[in-house]
Symmetry: C2
Amino acid sequence: MDSQFGEKIRTLREKQHLYLRQVAPLLEMDTAQLSKIEKGLRQIKREQIPILASILKADPDELLTLWLADQLYAVVKDEKLANKAMQVTEEKINSKNTGD
Amino acid sequence: MDSQFGEKIRTLREKQHLYLRQVAPLLEMDTAQLSKIEKGLRQIKREQIPILASILKADPDELLTLWLADQLYAVVKDEKLANKAMQVTEEKINSKNTGD
DNA sequence: CCTACATTTGCCAATATCTGACAAGTCAAT
DNA sequence: ATTGACTTGTCAGATATTGGCAAATGTAGG
């Protein structure tokens, strides 16, 4: 399970019976790139996610969440301190929301 | 609170009554760089963390945790879906640990 | 086996991003 | 005004990532 985002968009694309060659041009890329994105070998650009969501009739927030999760996971995937670092980060996020 | 790692190492350095100019050469960098690192304007390299920990007589794991947290935070800091993304990532980390 | 089509892989030039190094700047104490 | 500590700006060089093409692989039908 290398890229949750990639897996998700592949599943969605297949559900819509679309080929890479049909979707890729709508994102202004070639099939090779999109293939790599689906396999997690490349990252799609953040700003392309809403476009892709509309092509695949998916929830943009859901795709963005998975995309962010992939980015986060890349940081900590081989770290024994992953969980601790996640915890510290969450506290930082929450303290920001409470404005202190 | 831009960089928890930076704040921490500055505090530690000051507790040891060390100057930038004393610490920087031990990390093979100049004072300007180390200053930026302490202020969160630059990232120290992961492999320099244990060296720095020994200079500052700090727990390497604690510093690494803060450093990782900074990296994580950089990914999601302006994202409204930050919390959701964190949650998804944690599940991925944990499912990896249970081997499924 | 041969062809057609979808997808994947490998490569590398182009681009984007980050870092190292130096110079000049601020600030505080004397 | 000088010194010492730290900060800031700049920018070429190093690193990392991406885009685009060509070739390779896989698959189904004839």
